[in-house]
């Protein structure tokens, strides 16, 4: 494959920026590649920058949903940032509201949001752990 979308690792997060027109094979490759990378790096969050993406179809919309679902199962948060107005309108007209995917206006805000989401998750996890500890003690 000549075309490949680079996936960058930054700490606990993976960054990927889609800067070429997506064709279907590229999208499929990306899905697979991203899934492998999440597992390999034990990523906690994925930030997808689509600010250069100007054309979108239902397939790409579904791909984004798919990536989000896969990532959720692998316990990584996904945030899509920088969607162009035209792309947003197209997706809405196609009836794809990308439920369950967090969005942000730009990479900066997206990263802040992602960190927050991961931190919230860890807190929740911690609280649950404590609860388990106490209930385990009480049970004994």
């Amino acid at each position: 494959m000549v075309d490949k979308i680079p996936i960058l690792k930054m700490g606990k997060y993976l960054l990927l920026s889609i800067q070429v027109d997506m064709h279907d094979q590229l999208a499929l490759d990306l899905q697979e590649d991203l899934t492998n990378q999440i597992v390999k790096h034990r990523a906690k969050g994925v930030l997808i920058d689509i600010s250069s993406l100007e054309i979108v179809d239902s397939f790409i919309g579904r791909m984004l949903s798919h990536i989000a679902n896969v990532s959720r199962i692998l316990d990584a948060k996904v945030i899509v940032v920088g969607m162009q107005p035209a792309v947003a309108i197209t997706l809405v007209e196609l009836g794809l509201s990308l439920d369950g995917i967090a969005t942000a206006l730009n990479v900066e805000k997206g990263m802040a949001r992602l960190e927050q989401m991961v931190a919230d998750d860890e807190l929740l996890e911690l609280a649950r752990g404590e609860e388990r500890d106490t209930s385990a003690k009480a049970g004994d």
């Binding site: 107005p85 947003a88 997706l91 206006l105 805000k109 997206g110």
Partner: protein
């Protein structure tokens, strides 16, 4: 040939025809508040001259080149009359009132008046209808212009605070307008990097299922871009209508007034307003 007969009549009796025509128009009622008799007379005279020239070439086809000057003159006249506030029948009466004097002449001068009368009547009817058509055309052009300027005027996106946009919608919403509103809002969100947008529908007279759907689309599009939308200014009747229609607003945040929405938006941004005098 009726054509040449009519042209001849027009030429020979120009003066009398003009006088009688203007009298006929006066009897039919000239809008003296909008136009004086002098103008009517000069218009009539101009048309009569052009008519004489054109009629000599043949009456049948108004689309042929020699009728162009007559049509041009009627066009100009109808346009200016429609802008001045004449009614369409007043505009048409200008042409139709030529019938009486012209028919009287034909009756008096011609050997076989019926044939010539028929041709003259057909001609004047066509010209009268042409007048009405161009009158309507210019009316429609005015309406279109106004619609367009309304569309541009009615979609301002204002920045209330750093990161908070408001778009006050006034007037009824259709799909065309919603599209413009949506685009304007999304563009502005990108431009100002705003996290929150308040759509205020205080000025929207009615909300039906279509309008609600359009609003939801806008909210969803903004959400996809990473901005949150609040819908505000929902009047009691509109709230009742929305519930009555069974429109599902989903998880869209709605507030009764713009002030409430603004307050909530500030809270979202972790901004607090403090009175300067309070301790």
């Amino acid at each position: 040939m009726p054509a040449s007969v009519i042209a001849e009549l027009l030429q020979q009796h120009e003066r009398e025809l003009l006088d009688e025509w203007v009298t006929a128009q006066r009897l039919a009622g000239i809008r003296t508040d909008l136009v004086d008799e002098e103008t009517v007379r000069s218009n009539s005279q101009e048309l009569l001259k052009l008519l004489t020239v054109a009629a000599a070439e043949g009456l049948d086809d108004l689309h042929s080149a020699h009728w162009t000057p007559v049509k041009g003159m009627l066009d100009r006249l109808s346009r200016s009359q429609s802008r001045q506030g004449f009614t369409s029948s007043e505009t048409a009466t200008f042409v139709f009132s030529l019938k009486e004097p012209l028919f009287a002449r034909i009756q008096a001068q011609c050997a076989n008046p019926v044939e010539v009368l028929w041709d003259a009547s057909k001609l004047l009817d066509k010209l009268g209808l042409y007048c009405v058509e161009s009158y309507m055309g210019s009316r429609e052009a005015i309406i279109r212009e106004q619609q367009e300027s309304m569309l541009e005027l009615s979609t301002p996106v204002v920045e209330l605070w750093k990161g908070i946009l408001a778009i006050p919608l006034i007037g009824s919403l259709d799909s065309n307008r919603t599209q413009i509103v949506m685009e304007a809002l999304l563009e502005k969100i990108v431009q100002t990097e705003s996290d929150l947008a308040i759509i205020d529908i205080t000025g929207v007279p009615t909300v039906d299922t279509m309008v609600a759907q359009h609003l939801l689309k806008t909210v969803t599009a903004a959400k996809l871009m990473g901005a949150k939308c609040i819908i505000s200014g929902i009047r009691p009747q509109i709230a009742a209508t929305i519930v009555h229609l069974g429109v599902e607003l989903g998880d869209v945040v709605t507030k009764a007034s713009l002030a409430d929405a603004f307050q909530m938006a500030l809270k979202e941004l972790n901004v607090r307003l403090v009175s300067a005098t309070a301790r």
